[in-house]
């Protein structure tokens, strides 16, 4: 496979094609008759997936550095360029988003019956934006993609969302926009500081990273500016309240994209930018403890709040907040295990929560309600759907053997060395997550069949099975054999941790500090 990919010069064009293809197809979607729209989107999505999957083989897992790097001048006198590339931190997110794309299109196949052209056009634009965020290696480019994403998401929620969509869309955009305002200032200031120190004013990620020691005196302010943007996006408690609304009101595709990719941009931002740029401050005791505490509070808080949600999507939205707390905890756990775990949680959460949103979307398409109370006993009339939901729920709960466990386990075990008490608190989430998801599962799919309106609900159609089956397969695959993924992210995670550890006391085995010999 590698040889074949090399022979077609894969590494030279793949990233550009991934970025450009959706945008290139966008006018087609808009201009051709409406009945073609979804087919074009599907074609593009499948093409992207097939092309993108090559990364799985072409990506050199043993190389921690950035790969497939391209640096084309754009506004060169200002040090801005079209700079893209991937490494272990981003490659999985890129793969996840190209793999998710056909599913999202297919998942929307029936649900979107109005203004299809606009919908699929926005979906394509969204895809470019998402990939751009993960691929950009130029701070200017990154910021552009980062913000650009808001527009398609705004309209996706605002036009095809459910009843309270305007509020949700507005809240989403304002939260995110306001959150990332200061990041722009921080980026510009960073370029200036590094430029003053080195004589090269450049937005290039590698340049800034290599000279990040020049940023140290301003680390605190710059970090706060970055962290605010990322914290809102993740979202970290207490910046999370936009998420339940956005998730709840968005159409299925929007919720899925939001859960699978958009939330990960925040955590990715921490891993890629906020911490490596300002390690001394970001990893200082106070900041580390604050972030880890916020993460853990978020984990438990969101789980508890999820438990009492009357709305299925809202419940899953809060569960997202809870899960992403693990990612943050893992990032600040700062061991190879915890960082690997954080990346794993990012992937797993995408798959499980994506699947949950798909299933809820399917329910919504049938019954036009997300209220848990409107359902009950569905397992009798829709056994396959119930099965899919139960599997997905357990994957989200973190049942070992399914994908959710791997990441959470690694995060917790990896972070334990640095934050034992917090990790113990976070571990209680295994109880709460089971509580909210099982309670919801019970009230929707089990219990007495109370609502006669649900009688004709029908089980999964072939298309819906085709959407869910790959996800469930992925859950089991990652749950039992995550090795290939872990190996691809390991080198970069290790490099990251080695960098980080020069600012931290290494997380030593506990016993080294405690043993005073045999009593």
């Amino acid at each position: 496979m590698q040889a074949f990919l090399a022979s077609i010069g894969y590494e030279h064009w793949i990233l550009h094609v991934l970025l450009a293809l959706p945008m290139a197809a966008l006018p087609l979607v808009l201009l051709l008759p409406v009945r073609f729209a979804r087919w074009i989107a599907l074609t593009v999505a499948l093409t992207e997936m097939i092309l993108g999957l090559g990364l799985w083989w072409a990506f050199d897992a043993s190389n921690p550095a950035l790969q497939f790097v391209t640096d084309v001048p754009w506004l060169e006198q200002f040090g801005i360029g079209y700079r893209v590339g991937v490494d272990g931190l981003s490659v999985m997110m890129v793969l996840l988003s190209v793999v998710m794309m056909p599913l999202v299109v297919w998942g929307s196949w029936k649900g979107i019956d109005t203004k299809q052209r606009g919908f699929y056009a926005l979906l394509l634009a969204l895809k470019t934006g998402m990939l751009g965020v993960f691929l950009a290696l130029d701070m200017f480019l990154f910021y552009m993609f980062w913000e650009l994403l808001l527009i398609p998401m705004y309209f996706t929620i605002g036009i095809w969302g459910s009843s309270n969509r305007l509020y949700a869309a507005t809240k989403f955009v304002i939260y995110t926009f306001v959150g990332s305002l200061l990041m722009l200032v921080a980026i510009l200031w960073m370029v200036k500081i590094v430029g003053d120190a080195t004589g090269t004013y450049s937005f290039a990620y590698t340049h800034l990273l290599a000279n990040s020691q020049a940023l140290a005196p301003y680390g605190s302010w710059l970090f706060v500016a970055f962290a605010l943007a990322f914290a809102v996006k993740v979202p970290i408690f207490p910046f999370h309240t936009w998420l339940p609304d956005a998730h709840t009101e968005a159409p299925t595709a929007g919720s899925v994209d939001l859960a699978v990719i958009l939330l990960k941009m925040g955590t990715y931002g921490f891993l890629r930018f906020a911490i490596p740029f300002f390690p001394a401050f970001a990893l200082s005791d106070a900041v580390g403890l604050t972030m880890a505490t916020l993460a853990v509070v978020g984990i438990i808080y969101a789980a508890l709040v999820a438990m009492v949600q009357p709305d299925l999507k809202r419940l899953v939205a809060y569960s997202s907040v809870s899960h992403l707390g693990f990612v943050i905890l893992g990032i600040w756990g700062s061991t190879v295990e915890s960082v690997q775990g954080a990346i794993m949680v990012m992937i797993s959460h995408g798959i499980s929560t994506g699947a949950l949103f798909f299933i809820i979307g399917m329910l919504y398409e049938r019954r036009h309600t997300r209220k848990i109370a409107d359902y009950g006993g569905l397992a009798r009339v829709a056994p396959l759907m119930a099965t899919a939901f139960v599997i997905t729920a357990f994957s989200s709960i973190g049942l070992p053997g399914l994908n959710g466990f791997v990441g959470e386990f690694l995060v917790l075990i990896g972070s334990f060395g640095r934050y034992p008490i917090l990790v113990v608190c976070a571990t209680t989430a295994v109880v709460f997550s089971a509580a909210y998801l099982l309670w919801a599962t019970q009230r929707v799919f089990f219990n007495r069949f109370t609502n006669p309106k649900n009688e004709g609900i029908g089980d999964l159609s072939g298309r819906e099975i085709a959407v869910l089956a790959p996800l469930i397969a992925a859950m089991i695959w990652i749950g039992l054999y995550p090795g290939p993924i872990l190996r691809r992210t390991e080198a970069s995670a290790r490099q990251y941790v080695e960098m980080v550890e020069s600012y931290l006391p290494p997380a030593e085995p506990i016993i080294a500090n405690r043993t005073g010999g045999q009593p």
Binding site: T241, Y301, V308, P400, Q442, F446, L480, R487, P509
Partner: protein, 656 residues
């Protein structure tokens, strides 16, 4: 064969898949399901026997590396590996063996259920997970099984999900288990950060050298692991789920909630015996918790009317014995009781299942809606169901501790061990006392159960009585096998006093060596004391049984509707000490209230959304509104503003 031990997992797994597929596509293909479901189990059992023979020839553990599960770093490199040694093989045989019997029984029991295929899919899946638990070579791998059996338990308890109570029970079971799993997880973190390994072999090898004996760390680890065991094995304080779990089909209760899954906690303690041995305090806690559970569950069992509930509390109680054993360092006794209990309790449950099956069909035939599980509706069934009666009687005698039957030996060994540990700490003596009292009650409530069910006259009405039949052969067959095992199971570890060779003790020796090395050897009582204890045990069994039969049959048994409301102690016992209510009131209710009112409505929606977010938006808007009010349209005001500005600018430039 040992190299193919993974087949024992794969076969049930494939069975589960096949049955699951059938459940989705061809639910009516019951014949095929009947073939696949028990078939894969029997095949697995065959493999297990083969593996056991091979294991018998070696004292070393056989490690079967399947693939690398989590290759994270050099220090955290978790293989998906199986470990076949003398401990796991015992469990392997019990699970596949008893499992096969129960699968066979289920063919008859579940025949008419529309979810037949689904049932076998779950049951097969359960066996697969149970075997992963047992065979796993490291804590994380076992944890797959550990939680997986919880999943299957959840699914099977809520098998008839359309009854709210059943789904509730399933959820409750999983949640209680999860609370325990929290402990296991944290224990794993601690073990890894202290010992740098999660493999059982690694733990055995490094723990003693790394962890100080009696140190806090070892105690904490052991207690956390034990927390997991209290969840999985229904010990105080997490035992509440098991009685509710009886909502599932009765064979499930037999397999999962009596014979196999619930004993996983005992298995885990023995498996990580080294860690417990390093923490004497934790051992005491384990022992006393076990004893207390044995005692209190037995008291509750005294006043239950639901035949399965009695057995459920009996199971909780017997599990308490097992923990008393392992808490006393009598690992073998624990495993021994685990095995014998698997035989006689599976038998009891299946027997009860047979009774319920008969009652249910009889009710169904006449269109009655009485509770098929309430013993007050039964009575005199021995004439209609002679085989069931005889076999259940064997099991009753075994559990009551009638000499010669399996339960007698295992229970006696436990009590003796606890008594022997009394040298170390009076805690063990207290535990022993509780155990003895529980034994008396066990004999009593079992006698009561038998008396209410099989003796006297049928209280459910003559019409129903006419429709009572013995179960078909496919159901009684497994009962016969289990009956035989209950009779002779004691041979496994026959004590020296009756001329036995303590075979199981020797068999497990190599596995338990690292743990035993750290413990003071048990000085089991010999001579007079031993005989006294033995005599006492026999006396207790006889007294308990006699009392049970006498007191139950000595007065009329009212129908459920005529039963007077219990008072005093009886009310407390019938209400199961109101532990459920207590948890509901003190933990669940307040937590839900707190989450909903304080966290969600209060903090999320009010403080963050309303005050912080909407508040700042309102503030900005308010400021804007204020500003626009200033814009009155009056030139005079505009000019004045201009003048003020001019003064400010002039001041800044000139005054500066």
């Amino acid at each position: 064969m040992a190299r193919f031990a993974w087949l024992t997992i794969l076969l049930p797994l494939l069975g589960a898949l096949a049955n699951g597929f059938l459940a989705a596509r061809r639910p009516s293909a019951k014949r095929l399901v009947s073939l696949i479901g028990p078939g894969v189990l029997l095949a697995a059992f065959a493999v297990a026997i083969g593996a056991a023979i091979e294991v018998a020839g070696t004292e070393e553990a056989i490690r079967i590396q399947l693939w690398t599960w989590m290759p994270v770093t050099e220090r955290l490199h978790i293989d998906l590996a199986l470990q076949l040694d003398r401990l796991s093989v015992v469990l392997l045989l019990v699970v596949t063996g008893v499992g096969s019997l129960i699968h066979l029984f289920s063919i008859g029991y579940m025949r008419s259920d529309p979810g037949y295929a689904r049932y076998f899919a779950y049951l097969n899946l359960f066996v697969a997970f149970m075997l992963i638990l047992v065979l796993g070579a490291s804590l994380p791998v076992s944890f797959i099984g550990w939680e997986g059996v919880g999943l299957c338990s959840y699914l099977l308890i809520g098998f008839w999900f359309e009854v709210d109570a059943n789904s509730d029970a399933g959820k409750k079971a999983f949640l209680a288990n999860r609370i325990g799993d929290f402990g296991v997880l944290v224990a794993m973190f601690l073990i890894w950060w202290t010992l740098g390994t999660l493999d059982y072999a690694g733990i055995d090898a490094t723990a003693a050298a790394t962890l100080p004996l009696g140190g806090t760390l070892a105690t904490v680890i052991a207690l956390l692991l034990f927390l997991g065991c209290t969840g999985k094995s229904a010990q105080i304080p997490l035992f509440v789920w098991l009685p509710d779990a009886m909502a599932g089909p009765t064979p499930v209760s037999a397999l999962i909630h009596a014979a196999t899954m619930v004993t996983a906690g005992v298995f885990l303690v023995v498996r990580t015996g080294v860690l417990f041995s390093l923490a004497p305090f934790a051992m005491e806690i384990v022992a006393i918790t076990g004893a207390l559970t044995a005692f209190f569950a037995a008291t509750i069992g005294l006043r239950q009317y639901d035949i399965k509930k009695v057995l459920a509390y009996s199971t909780v109680s017997q599990l308490g014995y097992m923990f008393l054993a392992v808490g006393s360092g009598a690992w073998t006794a624990g495993i021994f009781h685990l095995v014998t209990h698997a035989f006689f309790k599976a038998l009891l449950f299946l027997g009860a299942g047979s009774v319920i099956h008969a009652m249910h069909h009889a009710h169904h035939a006449v269109g009655a809606h009485d509770d098929a599980q309430d013993m007050r509706n039964m009575g005199g069934l021995r004439t209609a169901m002679p085989w069931t009666f005889r076999l259940m009687m064997i099991a009753t005698l075994a559990i009551a501790g009638v000499p010669g039957l399996s339960g007698f030996f295992s229970k006696d060994e436990i009590l003796a061990s606890a008594f022997a540990r009394g040298d170390h700490s009076t805690v063990y003596l207290v535990a022993w006392g509780l155990g003895v009292a529980a034994a008396l009650m066990t004999a009593y409530y079992m006698a009561r159960l038998m008396a209410m069910t099989f003796y006297g006259t049928f209280r459910g009405g003559g019409e129903v009585e006419g429709h009572l039949h013995e179960a078909p052969a496919v159901m009684t067959g497994p009962l016969v096998v289990l009956g035989g095992l209950s009779l002779v199971g004691g041979l496994l570890n026959l004590p020296a006093v009756v001329g036995g060779g303590q075979w199981l003790e020797h068999w497990l020796e190599p596995v338990l060596a690292p743990a035993n090395l750290l413990l003071d050897p048990l000085h089991l009582p010999h001579g007079t004391t031993e005989y006294l204890l033995l005599g006492g045990a026999i006396l207790i069994a006889v007294v308990g049984l006699t009392l049970g039969f006498r007191m139950t049959l000595g007065r009329p048994i009212p129908l459920p509707a005529d039963t007077p409301a219990p008072r005093g102690l009886a009310r407390l016992l019938e209400g199961k000490y109101f532990v459920d209510e207590f948890y509901q009131r003190v933990i669940v209710g307040p937590l839900v209230w707190f989450s909903k009112t304080v966290l969600w409505r209060g903090f999320d929606q009010f403080v963050i959304d309303r005050i912080a977010v909407a508040g700042s938006a309102r503030l900005a808007q308010g400021l804007g509104w204020l500003g626009s009010r200033l814009q009155t349209g009056q030139v005079a005001l505009y000019v004045s503003l201009f003048a003020v500005g001019a003064v400010l600018v002039l001041r800044a430039l000139i005054g500066g």
